[in-house]
Symmetry: C2
Subunit: 245 residues, 2 copies
Amino acid sequence: MARKVSADLEIPLHLAISEQLREQIFLGDYAPGDQLPSEHQLMATFQVSRITVRRAIANLISQGLLTSHQGKGVFVKPQRKVIRSLSNPLVFFDENMASQGVTSGIRSLSFEELVPSAEVCTTLDLSLDTPRIYCQKKIILTDDIPVAVDITYIPFELGAAFADQLQSSLIYPTLDQNGVSIERVETILECTHATHEMSQYLETSLGAPLLVNRYVAYTTGARPVICGETLSRADRLSYSIVLTK
Amino acid sequence: MARKVSADLEIPLHLAISEQLREQIFLGDYAPGDQLPSEHQLMATFQVSRITVRRAIANLISQGLLTSHQGKGVFVKPQRKVIRSLSNPLVFFDENMASQGVTSGIRSLSFEELVPSAEVCTTLDLSLDTPRIYCQKKIILTDDIPVAVDITYIPFELGAAFADQLQSSLIYPTLDQNGVSIERVETILECTHATHEMSQYLETSLGAPLLVNRYVAYTTGARPVICGETLSRADRLSYSIVLTK
DNA sequence: TTGCTGAACATGTCATAACAGGTGCTGCCC
DNA sequence: GGGCAGCACCTGTTATGACATGTTCAGCAA
């Protein structure tokens, strides 16, 4: 049953194998959730060493197609995404998720007072003689699965006033309910990679791509209220936007 | 000079080493563009085998901090990004880049007539008896460096009319100059990984994160005109959005 | 001075081998 | 029948070694 991999002498073996496996996954030979043959079986199938099989699998893991679990095996990753709307008008995250039939929740990691960085000071327009700010770090869950880590910087007065409420609910609704109207949010979307720390929080692999949403929220009078960033698992969340002329 | 890596017996050696190297990069021991010590030097420094050094470096490459070049060495990756505005009103890509002092250009990969997929048919509202469409594939450059690959599906009549113009300039301006007004664009932003093919086009490594912008553009009367997707290097491009109440 | 060649050195690929540690099942013991 | 021990099998980590291939530069020849 040994099958030689097509000898594209141009490209390395591990790439030829991972591309062939990708093709098989694409064609449905292995469905989402299916287990792939074990490393030893693949070694026999492709007539290569374990290091080459592992490299091929690593390629596909780094491309988000596979996951591996020690002691169990390698599996085709099922893809289930939620969409976060960034279109006008601003929709709160939980409403946004609810409309997709997904429950949302948070797990607070920390809520502490600290001295803000110069960057945070300037974006929040803080006077330098009162360099105090609250920093909240939390995990955002959808269907009880972690999708994002959020770090928010909240001016001292606001943080102190709504401390307990912020521990269990999201920022925008909390502010909204307390009469702080969010008029405008500027966000920048980009991409980074999970550090070891983030991979722990988000139950993902080291180096997995994360979408970064850096935001500054303004209330009436173009006054900045809060800023922060949300790092979300790119395999679990995407953003939708509508542009008009 | 041999320095034992801190024996966090909890985590694997390669991770301990890559985290230590990350720290050194962060602290500025190695500046952007700098060359890291060679694998052999790192083997001696950390007292580990080459496979472990390579794994540690691979971690950081997958996190976008380093790049390697065969025969030359491993280097700290300089980070230079352009920002694409997705805020209202719609701004054309080239104007958007120009405002950042960056030149933009395209390299056409293909421009061909083909039978559209069912998905493209439904999003473009095509009647099924005329399943013809143009597909343009191009590389988008900023400062003559590839940042994105764009695949656009253009209805047959439009494609035929502006074929030559589309070869050398971007879609939206071309349509705009020919009286097709873009009133509304719906986009979804998400993240994938570079396949081998994409990594060739974008001169990036296999599995590098790509931002995907799936868009549908509508003209007057909510009539869809074109759709497609732009896959951009996440290390070269980020998106900015402004939300209002 | 120009141009080529080869040595030294860099990373890339691949093989073999050993052990660690997680998972799940079988079968024995109580 | 319930629970536990042990085994088979899986991926994870790490070492050693060999050869391939790209880069650079010194040194030689034209």
